[in-house]
Each structure stands twice: as structure tokens, then as C-alpha cells.
């Protein structure tokens, strides 16, 4: 069996295995969310300023909230099977529209954060390990410690104060300049400018993690037997580091990155809130307070699909990084 067809089979098997996991997540979350006091109708009525019990009963019938829980669950699962994620009564829009709308913003932030955090984290960790116990190493380690320990929202706000208010280099918030309504390339540039501060803020935290992990991983690899052999063979330090040790040291970092992609959808609530970035994190946060269960379940499902997919990708990357690992 060729390697690539083995991989395809493996991918197929993993995807099939993913389906019962997603199902279990949806069912468990459904019951967990329903444990919370109050429902969407209470919130809507409260916001309207007043509402009679008759109106609220009417709304409940309309939303299907007056049915017993297992029935509501069955209806929801049936809809999901036909890719109908339900309707968000708070936003008056189908859930799938809402999610895809905001997914682009979250995806943009997530992708740029991962590239920045992993890229720089690996580089800095590499540098620290190569220049072990010199001043470069100390500076990098301390930097990682500080960025890790500082609260995200404070970093975000300080970025706004320094780079936006004092220096005026970047806008304070939002994804685009709403007063200007740019088109085409102007819009792309506008979004890119707005993306800078939120990305730096979010990636600083993860960068610290990857730096330290990469450094530790490199040091562990340096202590392995094959490095001693390579040195005995007379290979240059440069070749040992970049051709041999690096690939092995990357394995734990890749694992970590995979896990964090899943966390990034939720973890960005803070950054989305501080920078008014219209992503899924804020949507999930608000829908919890609005008891918008359809929307929440939709987001959870998307999250779980994403995590499963990323785990799969990470496993495949493994086999390319380390030829000893085979997909079985």
C-alpha cells in the first residue's frame, strides 16, 4: 500500500470516528445549557422593557421552548442532520448565517495569531537554546515570562493607549473603518491595519508558551545520543541544529499548537471584547447571557469539528516530521 493511500484511509477513518464525538458533545452541552435558570424569552421580554405572561407564552410556543427537553433535543438533532443549525431568536437570523458571518473575522484573527505565535515562538526558543545561558537566552526567557504573566486585557488596552492614542499608528478598535466604506484593495489594507494590534496582543501570550516549550524541547534533544554521534561524525553545529535537532524538537510544539487552535475560539473573547473584533468568541459570550441556546450549540459544534480536524492535521504533520511515526 502506498504511503499516500494509507494516509487517505487513515483520514477517512478518523473523520468517521469524529462523528460520534461531535454528537456526544452536542447532547451533553444541550443538557448542560438547559440547566441554567431562565430562557431566551425571559431575556427578550426583559429587554423589551415589559412583557405580559401571555406574550411570553406565545413566544415560548413559537420557539418550541414549551416542549419537554428530550423532544427539543430530538428536533434539534434532526435539524442538524440536514445541516439546519436552527434559528437564533435573539438575532432574528438563521444560526448558520450568523456563524459564517463571524467565522471569517475569527478565522482571520486565529490564523494570523498562530502564524505569529508559532513562528516567533519557535525562532525565539531556537535562539535561546542555541545561545544557552548567554545574555540572549536570559533576555528571551524573561521576556517570555513577562508576557505570559501579564493579563491579556491589560496588554490589549496598553497597546491601544500607546500605539493608537499616543502614537496614532493604528486604529483603536473594530475590523474596519466604518465611516469610510472602502472597497477592494483599500478594504484589504484597512482590515490588515485593524488586525495588527489584536493579533500582537493575542499572540504575545501564546508566544511565551511556544518559546519556552521550544527551548526546553531543543535542550532535551541536544542531550540525546544521536547528537553525540553526529558531533563525533564531525558535522557542524549549524547542520546538527537545523537539519536534525530542529525537526525532532518541533514535535511537542506542533502538538501544543494543535491543542491551542481549539482554545483560540474561546480564548479570544477577551481580545475580541477589548478591540471590538466581531468574532465568534464575543458571539458565544453574548449568547450565553441571552440564553440563545441554538446559537451556542451551533458554535460548540463548529468548535468541536475544528478541534477534531486540527488534531487530524497535527497527526499527519507528525508523520512528515518524524519518519518513524506511521499512520496505522
Amino acid at each position: 500500500m502506498t504511503r499516500s493511500s494509507k494516509i487517505f484511509k487513515y483520514v477517512g477513518k478518523r473523520l468517521l470516528q469524529g462523528i460520534p464525538i461531535i454528537l456526544a458533545i452536542v447532547v451533553i452541552n444541550f443538557f448542560l445549557l438547559n440547566l441554567a435558570e431562565g430562557d431566551a424569552v425571559d431575556v427578550l421580554a426583559g429587554e423589551a422593557g415589559s412583557a405580559t405572561p401571555e406574550y411570553m407564552a406565545q413566544l415560548r410556543a413559537k420557539f418550541g421552548l414549551d416542549q419537554p427537553l428530550p423532544v427539543q433535543l430530538m428536533v434539534y438533532l434532526k435539524n442538524v442532520a440536514t445541516l439546519d443549525l436552527g434559528y437564533s431568536f435573539r438575532h432574528d437570523m438563521p444560526v448558520s448565517d450568523l456563524i459564517f458571518d463571524r467565522f471569517a473575522a475569527t478565522g482571520l484573527l486565529m490564523t494570523s495569531t498562530i502564524i505569529l505565535a508559532v513562528g516567533f515562538g519557535v525562532l525565539l526558543g531556537l535562539l535561546a537554546a542555541m545561545r544557552l545561558n548567554t545574555w540572549k537566552d536570559t533576555v528571551i526567557t524573561v521576556f517570555a515570562l513577562i508576557t505570559y504573566a501579564t493579563p491579556l486585557f491589560w496588554v490589549g488596552l496598553m497597546m491601544i493607549v500607546v500605539f493608537s492614542l499616543k502614537l496614532g499608528w493604528f486604529p483603536t478598535s473594530g475590523m474596519e473603518n466604518v465611516a469610510a466604506f472602502y472597497e477592494g484593495w483599500d478594504r484589504v489594507k484597512d482590515i490588515a491595519v485593524h488586525l495588527v494590534l489584536p493579533t500582537i496582543t493575542l499572540s504575545l501570550f501564546y508566544l511565551a508558551l511556544y518559546t519556552r516549550m521550544m527551548r526546553a524541547s531543543m535542550l532535551e534533544q541536544y542531550g540525546q545520543d544521536y547528537v553525540i554521534t553526529a558531533r563525533a561524525k564531525g558535522l557542524t553545529e549549524r547542520r546538527i541544529t537545523f537539519v536534525h535537532v530542529l525537526r525532532n524538537a518541533l514535535l511537542p510544539v506542533v502538538t501544543m499548537a494543535g491543542v491551542q487552535v481549539g482554545a483560540l475560539i474561546g480564548g479570544s473573547v477577551i481580545v475580541e471584547s477589548v478591540f471590538a473584533w466581531p468574532g465568534l468568541g464575543m458571539l458565544a459570550f453574548e449568547s450565553l447571557f441571552a440564553r440563545d441556546l441554538n446559537l451556542l450549540l451551533g458554535i460548540f459544534m463548529l468548535s468541536s469539528i475544528l478541534v477534531i480536524a486540527v488534531n487530524l492535521v497535527v497527526d499527519i504533520i507528525y508523520c512528515f516530521l518524524d519518519p518513524r511515526i506511521e499512520v496505522s
Binding site: E47, F153, V274
Partner: protein, 528 residues
Amino acid sequence: MKTILQSCALAASLLLSSVSAYAAKDGGTLAFLVQPEPPTLASYVSTSGPIGLVMPKVYEGLFDYDNDGKMIPILAESYDMSGDGKTVTFNLRKGVTWHDGKPFTSADVKFTIMEVLKKVHPRGPNSFREVTSIDTPDAHTAIFNLDNPAPYMMRSFSAYESPMVPKHLLEGQDVKSAPLANNPVGTGPFKFVEWKKGQYIRLDKNENYWQEGLPHLDRIVGRFIPDASTRTAAMENGEVLYAAYNAIPNIDAVRLKERDDIGVTTDGYSMINPMALIEFNTKEGAFVDPAVRRAISTAIDRRFMIDTIFFGYGKPATSALSSNFKATNLHAEMPNYPERGDVAAANAILDKAGFKKDGDGVRMTAVLDLIPYGEDWRRAGEYMKQVMGDIGIKLELRYEDVPTWLKRIYHRYDFAMNINYFYQLPDPVLGVHRHYGTNQIRKGTHFVNSSRYSNPTLDALLDSGSKEPDAAKRTATYKEIQTILANDMPVVNLFELQFLTVYNTKLKGAYGSAMGAYGSFREAYLDE
């Protein structure tokens, strides 16, 4: 010679008028803060605050109200009230069209009041309860027929309170879920363009607006920014030019006030009359005895709360009615609402009422619920706990999220003491009666009589006060009402909130209406 002089005079006057026309400049986009993001744009179904920030620019009412309370003709040019107050004839403006081009007529007014506001609006059934029918003899006349005179009704015709909606887009549909909700079509100076959830609402200039030369602005954009500090930063950076209803927290507003390019005002809230208060459970729990409630009211240092928590923006309450009602002679100063708080007197009241202190100095314990609308209210709760401790009432604070809190207070009456704030609105019938009437004890309905206070004498007074057309008699009735309430105190008024509007000084003309941020902005312009 004469003709030369005449033409010179004509030229001079033309020149002068064109110079004065330059005072208001056309063009530009106004970005302002809308906090939080509205749940819907159907202002005819929900009076939620953020909806009021946006929709009165799209929909209009029959009248607007200036800062002195006088009525400004908008969709109605004038009105005539019959001697007995039971027939009100409105002469509607001609030449007004909806944003989709159809003409605005009396049929729209009749439909809006009878089928929409009286049926699904939170306050409409109360504001228009005396209206039994509306006659429309022609397209520009609407005659309201009332069962009883309703002086308060004339105060509720602003675009925020009673927006006129298009009959041709709502007729035959379920008003609460019609597509008009998120695709509004009104007669206002700005028309709805798009609502990007989580980001902004965009309104563009209505080129066919009925008033010549208005609006000045090309576009209005309402931005949603969840974090308070970021909102302040956006204001400092000039990315937004206007923020009302404390979208900028007081602590930042006092700092921004020092800048030359930023102004802060407390104007624009006189039709709203927000009042911070405490609702008590008068049927069960620690506070069923009115003496205890009077003691609590006596102990609170209202000035301290205003100065320390709200940075000086507020006015201590002196009765069940806001002092803004002095303008219509309905407010009267009452005892038991001390500005500075008198702990000794409060302790005396409790001693006399027979509530002894135990070994630890505690007379009774209870849970204090707080309105979950922000940090300021948590501070208010913490202060309350402190001062109640001084008179021997041990309080535990409870801060839940909005749906849980609403269910607890208004569905289950599972509370003892609840800090809240209400809009008293332009007339007590609209915003005050709902706390005290027996017929307002409606389990499951939010923001009405949750204390379950029931006093037949008071009910009769509330009823006559709402129907009384004679101003002097009305003043006397409300004085009696306030006297009874100052004694029974099912709700203890704390202080009149002063909301702040923070604006960039290059924005002009946004302040003519008493509705403030809930106004239409049709005269607003940017003076770069």
C-alpha cells in the same frame, strides 16, 4: 435709481441669507457609540434603550419635544383638543413619504396606534388606553376618540415612545415577527442601509425628507464596542463623536471633560427621568413592616452615593416623583428622604418599632439583589451593605445575570430588597404608576409592581390623577399620592440619575430635542 437701489438691496439680502446658511454645513459621516448592541430594530415592539439610540432617526412620531417641554410639530402640524378632553384632532403634515416612496397618511396613524402600539408596545397599552377609536375623514386628519381625558397621552408622541410605522408593510402580518423589524422603513431624516452584527448599523441620508435642507449629515453609523475602556479610547481618538447614556463610564468622562475638543453634558434626559430606587417585598421577608422601610430610607446617605459612585452626577430624590416634574407642578417635597442620611434617627425608628438588636448588633438579615447592568450598581450594593450594617440590618449581596435576575424578581417574587432603576418618563402615569397600582401586580411581567403593594385609597388617587384634566386638581391629587407613598414606602427612591452625553465639539446641532440621544439628529452637522 430706485431700481438700482432695489436690486442692490435684493443682492445684499441674498448674500446675507446665503452667509447664514453656511452656519450649518452639509455632508460628513457621524460615527457614534451604541451600547450595547440592540436585540432588534423594531422600536414599535421593544423600548430597549439601544434601539432608542438608532431608530428615532429612521422612524418619526407625531411630535417632538424641545428642551422646555414644548411640542414641536413633526408628522403632525397641529392638534385641537375638545373642551372635555375626549376628542383630539391631529392635522397631519402633507407631502411626507415613506422611505420606499409610498405616501404617509392618516391610515398609517390609525393603524400604528390601534393595531401596533395599543397591542404590542410595552407602554402603548397604557399610554393610549383611553383611545377607543380613530376617525380618518381624509388622508391628513386623524381624530382620536377617548373614553376619558388623558393629559399624559400628549407627552408620549416622540419618535422613541410612539413611532409611526407603515401600514402597507405590517398589515395582515404578525406585528411582532414581521420582516419590517430588521428592515425598517420610516419617514425619518435617515434611512436604514445595513446592520452588520457585532460591528455597526449604517443609516444614510434620506434625500426625499419632508423638511427642505435637512438632514445635513450624509450618513450616521452606530458602532458597537463591548469594552468600556476601548470606547473611551475611540472617543479620545476621534473615531466616534458622540456617546450617550453613560457609554463612556463616568470615571473617564470627568477626565475627558478637561479636553478642549470634548464636551460633556447632562442635557437630553428630561423626557426619560431615570430614578435609582430600591424595590421591597412587602408581603414576605424582613421588610414587610413599613417602619423598617422608612428607617432604611432615613439611613441612606444619598449625596455620598452620588458623589462617590457616580462622580457627582445625580440629584437626591425627595419624593416618589422625580423633581423634573416640577415643570408640570406635580412634584412635592416629602419627609423621609434625607439627602445626607441620619443613622441615629433610623436606629430610633427601628427601636421604636420593636426590632431589638442581638448580641452582635444585628436586628435582621436579608439578601440584597442588584440590577446586573454594570459595576456602578455593584458599588451601590456594597455601600448599602455598609450603611445597613450601621442600623443593624445584615445584608448579603447577590448579583446574577439579567434573565436569572428578572425571573427571580418579577416571576417568583423571590427577593427581599432589590436595587434597580426605572425611567419615570414624561408623565407619572407612564412611568410611576406601574410601581404602586394594585392592577399592576402582574406576575411574570417585568418592571411593574413587584413589591405587591396594594392600597385601595392610593389606587383611587392614581386613577383620578390620570384622568384629571384640571392642572390645579391634578397637583393636589399627586401631592396626596406622594404623601401616602412617603409613609408606606414600598419603593424607596434613592436619587435621580444624571446620564452623561460625551461628544466631540465638532458635532453641532444634536441637542435641540429634549429626547437627546433618542432624537432624530436631523439638524446635526459636523463643523470640521
